[in-house]
Symmetry: C2
Subunit: 485 residues, 2 copies
């Protein structure tokens, strides 16, 4: 067995590694487009993104979500309708003020999120509890004039892949059920991408602007920083009241319905590319790899071998394509096999097949899996079964490896010093007993130089004896802290 | 045989019919969203749109096009680089001037089209003829501050489904070949949607701003007006020169490459919904219908019949789903069968299956095709074969019917009076001999109260004896005129 590719550079220099991989693997061109915080999805990256979108779309559709598409521009008056909401966003909104050379009568916002425009239209569409629950979603660009440092795919001014769901319910309880459903969908989605996660209820002071509360899904990136990769909000009746949106209930009374919203973004792609990577590049889970198998014919010297290689090659391609496997033959003449190996390893293609004179003669194939670089020789006639088996093994290994990594990076302690060291050493997340008082968490954020991510979801009670390490009051649960993106 | 559904209202009141159908069939909500020229794709409409997008995507991918995604915002300086281009668009550009409460240093345009931003990035990506031809495309929202009257899906300020392709070539000839390829792709696309078309080379004064020339695809809507549904432009070296974008040619010299671009939009969906419609609603070609078969169980009085209906129903659903057919059972209890028939006819579902007590007892099914409303009774066990056969028949009928309509609406004449009457009577397109002089065509536009669509593509020479009906000079080809959207 070959030793696992080094993941040293990947861990130690993660931010640089990320900038390198998205350029080298032609995923996302960032920094050359002449607007800060905006980049270009290149063909290979676009295909990864597309398959990830298909995955979430299937999961949402299976649970009765309906896809829609709303205008990108929201008139100022709509955006301002819900007071908390606009307070949370107004520093970050891009405004369109001119059409052609003329000033517009009404300023138009590039949508930062769509609660306001969707709720407005729902007032026309939804009249009765009989139509509920109603679950809409859209996959769109959103815009935020970020004042923090921008990062490709992670903190952008144009988020090009914002999947936002918006639901309507006839009771608070049903909205609660919907938040749980949203999280089930997202966790299944991340499981399929082999991305490990931590689920937290965000602190009151860090919830979505306009929500009753926010549940967030974070993961830990190779440099120990957390990244928020999904959120679900119970919006209560905040937006329906602001828009005077009432429906008829079963008892024939009129009341404001309840809403939730939940979203994921480009960050999912950044996470998939990052979490499974190593010094050679990224490693893509087979289910979303644009190319699942790359076949590299090794140039032969004699005509007989060439013929045998060509014959075997076309048999293998036919068998794999027939089985619905996404396969590419790299027969570029100007490039040597070693360079090709490197090229496709960088891009994270899960399985490589090499066919040389020896293999062709014996009707064998050499299979190399990307995650461990292990080699294996098989009979060519078994190629479909063997490749499928490898896909499963790769997925399982990525899943296990990523979860092991995440688990090792969460520390529960009641020592502030230990917590401080953990964060300083870029280890990851610490969990400290928490008394439930905002001022303690805010002080600890400063002390630890980490952000308060929130409390475990579902709620986990601290032991009877646990105390807040700052004020000494009885702890009710745990608060998580980490350096975060 | 039942007589064909009346297409009277559909023809005589087409603009009102269209407003009615997009609301009634829940395709596109227009006019209630509080920004002029912008609307919402509702779930059913979104699914039609999605399948149409998949169709064009498959055709483009098969011809080596690579999908990308560019930022929505273009800085002013890029948009102004190509002089003719900016002249053509500057009255129509929406400008973002503020981020949060602060004015931006640089004004940002909501993209009206993407020649400028794509060419700019190509200067980094493409260095050598060896990389050519290169074919990119993206499917995005574009924005135009239209001063003309807006129309849902037809003349919008946000065009939400703009498929724009951009290609690069090492010679003028290869760009010419690409324009032909683009048209082949589009014509195949429209053929698959059973949409008939006329292909014209737009007059010099009506070409795309920045192009050498524009080839346009028009169709004729039910009210006799033409609608531009696709365009392909040979951009020459206009943009590559403006962006000082040079590549290495085979002879090792450096030169500006050649470009083309071609696009289709939301209008394709509007056309599919319109062209095949009748007084009862739309009729969707089976390949893009979100629901291909709707099954309506007819309520039975006795328990025995109910059981039989349920059993047959689940067998039929299983068989159809197993064959990959998109099927929906409408078992709403509060609605009577007649109302359901009407409901799904409006939405254009190609095939309806009715299962009543009599059918269930005999293991028969009643099939009704949407285009002609013909009924047919079949053995339930043949359902997959019979439904597939009906799909083919429906497609063929829609195709034939639409092309017959279009052909009857094109008149070739050398009489100005006949041409004038033809347009006045809302018949469609007239073709008059043309001497090639701009002033004659412009005068005729006024005289006929129709727009000059251009000359036939590929070029068709007028007969030796043909003369321009205005100036009497020898005609070289035909000029087409019509009222157009």
């Amino acid at each position: 067995m070959v030793s696992e590719p080094s993941r040293e550079k990947w861990t130690n220099e993660y931010p640089r590694w990320f900038d390198w991989i998205i350029e080298e693997a032609e995923i996302y061109d960032y920094g050359r487009y002449p607007v800060k915080g905006m980049g270009v999805w290149m063909p290979y990256g676009f295909q990864i993104r597309r398959r990830i979108i298909e995955l979430i779309r299937d999961l949402l559709d299976a649970r009765g979500h309906e896809e829609v598409l709303f205008p990108m521009l929201i008139p100022e008056i709509l955006l301002r309708r819900e007071t908390e909401h606009v307070k949370g966003f107004e520093d970050e909104v891009y405004w369109v003020t001119h059409g052609g050379l003329k000033p517009l009568d009404v300023k138009l916002a590039l949508r930062p999120t769509s609660e306001t425009s969707i709720t407005y239209m729902e007032t026309f569409w939804i009249k009765s509890y009989k139509q509920l629950p109603k679950k809409y979603y859209q996959i769109v660009s959103i815009f935020r004039y970020e004042t923090k440092a921008t990062r490709p795919m992670i903190r952008l001014r144009e988020v090009t892949t914002f999947k936002e769901a918006h639901t309507v319910h006839d009771s608070f309880e049903d909205a609660e059920r919907q938040v749980r459903e949203a999280l089930e969908i997202y966790l299944e989605f991340f499981d399929r991408l082999a991305i490990p996660y931590i689920v937290s209820r965000r602190p009151e002071w860090d919830k979505f602007a306009g929500a009753l509360y926010t549940i967030a899904i974070d993961t830990i990136m190779p440099d120990g920083r957390t990244l928020q990769i999904g959120t679900a909000h119970n919006l209560g009746q905040n937006f329906t009241k602001a828009f005077d949106f009432k429906i008829q209930l079963q008892d024939e009374s009129l009341d404001y319905p309840w809403q939730t919203s939940y979203g994921i973004s480009d960050r999912v792609v950044a996470t998939v590319v990052s979490i499974h990577g190593d010094d050679r590049g990224t490693v893509l889970p087979p289910n979303i790899a644009p190319i699942q198998v790359v076949i590299i014919p090794i140039p032969a010297k004699d005509e007989e071998s060439k013929r045998q290689i060509d014959t075997l090659l076309s048999q293998v391609v036919k068998a794999l394509k027939g089985a619905g496997i996404r396969v590419k033959v790299d027969d570029r003449e100007e490039m040597r096999p070693g360079a090709k190996f490197f090229y496709w390893e960088t891009r994270g293609v899960p399985v490589r097949i090499e066919i040389g004179a020896k293999e062709a003669k014996e009707s064998k194939l050499t299979l190399v899996r990307r995650d461990t670089l292990e080699k294996k020789t098989i009979d060519a006639e078994n190629v479909v079964v063997e490749v499928r088996k490898l896909f499963d093994e790769i997925y399982n290994n990525l899943y296990k490896r990523a979860w092991n990594y995440l688990r090792q990076r969460i520390k529960r302690t009641d020592s502030i010093q230990e917590a401080k060291d953990w964060i300083k050493d870029k280890k990851g997340v610490v969990e400290l007993p928490w008394c439930g008082h905002e001022e303690c968490a805010l002080k600890l954020e400063e002390e630890l130089e980490g952000k308060a991510l929130g409390t475990p979801w579902p709620l986990e009670s601290a032991p009877e004896t646990a105390k807040c390490p700052l004020c000494g009051r009885k702890a009710i649960t745990w608060m998580r802290y980490a350096k975060s993106y």
